[in-house]
Symmetry: C2
Subunit: 405 residues, 2 copies
């Protein structure tokens, strides 16, 4: 191994003691004479505090100045960590986005990284420095600071790893890795050793957040191997994220994920004619309401149908209002809503080659008297909507049936 | 008037409401279509907080990273103020040191500004932007952040004013200007309308701090006219600092200043021979103890003399130890110390052309039974050391006698 990128999130650098702990992790790694670039987030709470300050000034605070403001948070962590390493006898230096530079598309608040000048970083790596890079920030071609969205330090780490052609990219967080399901509701949850980019994308969009989805996509596109590890138990192996052709699947599914912030809306007796689906979903989309699962039953007499879909629980009142407004344009008999539903999913690249997975899932749930409200599937995922009260039992049952215990 | 520089210190931007107040001051000035550059300090408390963080990491925190760390404070204020102006409908943008650039000598923690690229600033001034520049920060020719010492925002303001050939440089602070003496101990203190660079330098080294001395010197060398004004009563005229040839002195003295952190040390019966003064003061200097007033009486028999000098009260124990150590090399009979002494000074360029000022001062103090312990003078200043308990009376008496009431 030659070059690695290590990324530490906000909770990992939340205070001076934790920064010292991070410096120790880096120092012990540095012993093996590898080149190390460290990407850091702002100390936990700092970004929110800066954000609040901008809001106290204006609800429409300038996007350009927002980026100047928020990027200071990562600058502080970089300087503190670099100073801490130097204090521990490790050659180190911070390199801010403009010093490297990390060049972005230039959009403010939510930009994308175009390039990272690896030459300037290697100049110091070759002199045996540990280089500390603030995450989340870049500069535009017009030399303005532009940030890459909340949680953007993951994207910075992946972009730096790609630019340096690093051997690995280690994402340090407050959990030991990615688990087969949430250990808090299922004691039998196990840490996953290897998981594919596709699977982690399905898992994280289903609530198992350890890394920003767009960063996983970027890692996948550039084939950057990622290791998710715990800052608080760095000696443990963590979870490796890599392409599925490098994983031999001995299990049908990799994990059981769930969300508990869904709500279900059903329009009963919608007149079944072309364009009706569009008439329902366009106004919701216009109001930035994200629609997840959609089910439409074929009507017996081909004249009327029922349409069911799910939205985030927070969006439910807004969605209901819009649907009530629609009554003028769309003819439906009744509107039913249920804010106490959750989505339970099984995810696994292994299911592609194993038929009967869906049946096995439905059968297992039925054996526990869990009613399935809605079903949706992708190539490597099957999701069902159940009543909130059944979530824990559903997760435990599926975890056991698919031999993840 | 065409171009002005306005500088706001830490207390002026201490919280969001104060930043809004500063934006209002700038906005009302901007009405007259002048070009405005604003230099800001970090919000009060921020620099100390960052400084504490660095100390919590290491007593010998890296100077380079210290500069990266501390410069974030002014970056935050710049972004908030710029965003606030934009919110109030004023075209504004922040320009950080590296964006301008402001180039320093490159030394860390206490650098000096070499140049300010006025072209990049004028580019935006010409497009009618208010440009917000963080004080205290610059970059070296090696593209590293280097700060210019605590209180360095004054120096930044003067350097920017010089580079832009600004018509004036306004220093906004929490007092209404420079007073003939401290209003807290003398009700009759009046605001000074005009004061020379030399006088303000004498005043500020004597405790009347409104501006960093090195910044006044820089303003004097470059003939930058300064207006000291209050952020909280911006409508008031404040105090103008300019060269003495532009002031017509109708009063003999301009102000009465005092310090109350002095201590007096006397060596009794020192053998009077060449080299003895050096033998006393060299070891004190080596230990960074600043000596202020020095008096040596001629001895009656030309064999023994008494040497008196003052140091800062905090340095007194250290100085006493050094002098005790000296006993081995220097022959003296006794060591007397007094930590309850204060220096009272009259300052005024007018005294150059008025003889008898010293006599008038000593006579006035004597009439109040105030004993003078030590005397020292410069061209535009006469200082006397008195017992702490006499300070207030001495200041009031001199303020009245020299017609400042």
């Amino acid at each position: 191994m030659n070059t690695i990128v290590m990324k530490f999130g906000g909770t990992s650098v939340a205070n001076i003691d934790r920064i010292k702990n991070v410096a120790d992790i880096i120092k012990s790694k540095k012993k093996n004479s590898i080149k190390i670039v460290v990407v850091v987030s702002a100390m936990a709470g700092v970004t929110n505090d800066l954000c609040e300050k901008s809001k106290a000034i204006s609800k429409n605070f300038s996007n350009e100045e927002y980026d100047v403001l928020l990027s200071s948070g990562e600058q502080v962590t970089s300087a503190l960590l670099s100073g801490c390493l130097i204090d521990k006898g490790v050659k180190a230096r911070s390199m801010l986005a403009w010093q490297i530079p990390i060049v972005t598309e230039g959009q403010h608040k939510n930009s994308r990284i175009l390039s990272v000048n690896s030459k300037s970083i290697f100049k110091y790596l070759d002199e045996d420095y540990v280089v500390i890079v603030p995450g989340f920030q870049g500069i535009s071609e017009q030399m303005k600071i532009s940030t890459i969205g909340r949680g953007g330090s993951d994207a910075s780490a992946v972009a730096v790893a790609k630019a340096l052609n690093a051997d690995r990219c280690e994402i340090f967080t407050d959990v030991e890795g990615i688990f087969t399901t949430n250990p808090q509701i299922c004691n039998e949850a196990k840490k996953i050793e290897k998981i594919s980019y596709d699977e982690i994308l399905e898992m994280s969009s289903l609530g198992a957040k350890v890394m920003q989805s767009s960063s996983v996509q970027k890692a996948m596109m550039n084939n950057v191997e990622i290791f998710v590890k715990s800052t608080f138990s760095p000696e443990k192996s963590g979870t490796q994220i890599l392409s599925d052709d490098k994983i031999s699947y001995n299990k049908v599914i990799t994990g059981v994920a769930y969300t508990n912030d869904d709500a279900k809306i059903t329009l009963i007796g919608v007149k079944d004619k072309p364009g009706v689906a569009s008439a329902i979903f366009k106004p919701l989309n216009d109001q930035n309401i994200i629609i997840d699962m959609i089910v439409q039953n074929i009507s017996a007499d081909s004249k009327k149908t029922d349409v069911t879909f799910t939205v985030k629980r927070d969006d439910m009142p807004k969605a209901k209002n819009i649907i009530n407004e629609l009554k003028k344009n769309i003819d439906y008999d009744d509107l039913l809503t249920d804010a106490k539903v959750s989505k339970v999913s099984i995810v696994g690249a292994g299911m592609i080659t194993h038929p009967g997975v869906a049946y096995k899932m439905f059968d297992a749930l039925s054996s526990k008297n869990i009613n399935i409200l809605v079903i949706s599937t992708s190539e490597i995922r099957i999701s069902v909507l159940v009543n909130d009260k059944n979530v824990e039992l559903a997760v435990k049952t599926l975890h056991s049936v698919f031999e993840l215990d």
